[in-house]
Symmetry: C2
Subunit: 331 residues, 2 copies
DNA sequence: CTGAAAGCGCTAACAC
DNA sequence: GTGTTAGCGCTTTCAG
């Protein structure tokens, strides 16, 4: 089957290709009967405009690049859903780029993004140097970053302040006398853990103490569970242990049970990133409800605004809040 | 900043644009010193070839469309990872399209895919009519479907035969005397549940019985958990209950515990789609390890073969196997 | 209201 | 080896 182009339609409808172009793009100036004539020709031939050619002619692709860490986790998934939904509303297509921990060179992705001439990019990524961002801005491409407070002329950001979140929580704990707080390392999210440590350190510092509860998982241990198993049975050293992801929290739960430590009576447990699995565990795990879907949705919305010259973007830096969801693992 | 094109590079390097094109595409015929000259010009100007223009000229975009259900679940995520990794190897870009249950009209997506002139598409989707596929094939675009046994001239498929899986399992159960098997409905995956029911029915039929253990979740119940709660406490009616997703299995686990039913002693539990959460539950939930990552990776590999004229595609229909992972919820 | 023609950036014969 | 030129399919002035 021969590729059918605007030219074929023009011939079929006995008009010029300019006219066909007009009806495709819903121009008002076309007379009704010729519009119908063209429409019929389009139907008959099964013509679909070539977005690539349009992109070339218009200097815009109506597609946005998405850069996300490997799409494995529920949390990321929800963010993507938010991005996708809003993109759909504004008729943007999405190019998916994923970063694997360290392995995927950001540079390749950036190179790719630039070549593909997308209209904008949304990046959800902890590790991401200023340099790399500049690379993108140098090519004038609008960016929205999820999870970082960066922002300037062509960069917007949408995030939750985890440092503040954990600071607030720790402060409250300390004031209630729960001074022994532990934070479990998460190898998959070093940048996030760094933020959490900072928040904890700040809270401790303000109370004249030093934070010493960072639980680094020894290299030889393959999983948090394996580590915690040997760690937790040593005895109860902490009032509350904080994990980043649900699976780590569940590991704590399981190891505590095995060590006959009662949660929350003898030790409390909090998971930063709440998830449905937290609610399914027994005891149910307390956590912070992060507006993941909204992070994605608002990021995309912000980008569409930045892309649309008519829209005045008031604030390129959007901080979203979280809600602590107390369940059974905390008192 | 003015958009810099191949023409600018040509002028800068004092050669013709054809030569620049040649070095960009690694043509062998360029003399070393002019290649260097051009490279320098490219560096200096920060030139990046416009993939859109290349796409137009070459009649191919080196991008593949992905159609997946909303990217929420771990299972889907792994498939995507597989797809992404292989796509990366073969330098294909990915356009992401997601289908929301029923809401997203497949037609819009198809329209979009056709317009974007992708080289191929990978569809992971239960509900997908033959009609819709034909729509795509009509435009000569190669497709690989994940999860369905469809296949013809331009369509390949990679799947796990769940009907057979559950048939095998049920048959074994029946032979061991566990004749009361239940299957919990999954509203989010009706097509999959249909397959599972068929497998169960077949197993029962072959043993001269009829399958009656389909547990439909009443419309007024908001979650599997809510339903199971009222259902399970009625007493033990089944020898083994089968769920599709991990969260449903966990719901069974929790409700059984609340009803003081011992798993696996009084009732066994199997989750079709195994996940890490199954291993974190207590008792740990048995399940079938589905090669999700491989499904994605092989689907993409198959597509790349179909796209490459040199490659002879031997079999467009790939059935992957599963492994039953017995844990503590089955005897 | 419609058509003619230039151009978007790049590739690929075809010359030289 | 390198340059010239004709497209790839579509949009958009500019005329008429």
């Amino acid at each position: 089957m021969k590729r059918i182009t605007i030219y074929d339609v023009a011939k079929e409808a006995d008009v010029s290709l300019a006219t066909v172009s007009r009806v495709i793009n819903g121009s008002e100036v076309v007379r009704e009967d010729t519009r119908v004539k063209v429409q019929e020709a389009i139907e008959k031939l099964g013509y679909k405009p070539n977005a690539i050619a349009q992109g070339l002619a218009l200097q815009k692709t109506t597609t946005i690049a998405l850069v996300v860490p490997e799409a494995s986790y529920f949390y990321t998934g929800q963010i993507i859903n938010g991005l996708v939904d809003v993109a759909k509303i504004f008729k943007y297509n999405l190019m998916l780029h994923t970063t694997t921990e360290g392995i995927t060179e950001m540079n390749d992705i950036i190179e790719n993004i630039i070549k593909s001439r997308v209209d904008g990019v949304v990046i959800y990524n902890d590790k991401l140097t200023k340099d790399e961002l500049n690379q993108l801005t140098r090519y004038q491409i609008p960016i929205v970053v999820i999870g970082n407070k960066i922002s300037d002329e062509t960069i917007g950001s949408v995030y939750v302040d985890f440092e503040q979140l954990i600071y607030n929580y720790a402060t409250e704990c300390i004031q209630k006398g729960k001074k022994r707080i532990a934070l479990v390392e998460d190898r998959k999210n070093p940048a996030m853990i760094k933020q959490l440590r900072e928040g904890l350190s700040r809270a401790y510092a303000e109370n004249g103490m030093e934070f010493t509860g960072y639980l680094e998982i020894p290299k030889e241990k393959k999983s948090s569970y394996e580590f915690l198993k040997s760690f937790i049975k040593k005895g109860i050293e902490y009032d509350v242990v904080i994990t980043y992801r649900d699976s780590q929290a569940m590991a704590v739960l399981n190891t505590a049970k095995e060590a006959d430590i009662s949660i929350p009576d003898e030790m409390e447990l909090v998971c930063v990133l709440d998830s449905k699995y937290n609610a399914m565990a027994r005891p149910q795990i307390s956590g912070f409800k992060i507006p993941d879907y909204d992070l994605g949705a608002l990021a995309m919305r912000l980008l569409t605004k930045m892309l649309n010259e008519d829209d005045e973007v008031i604030d390129k830096k959007m901080e979203l809040s979280y809600i602590f969801t107390p369940r059974k693992s905390t008192k």
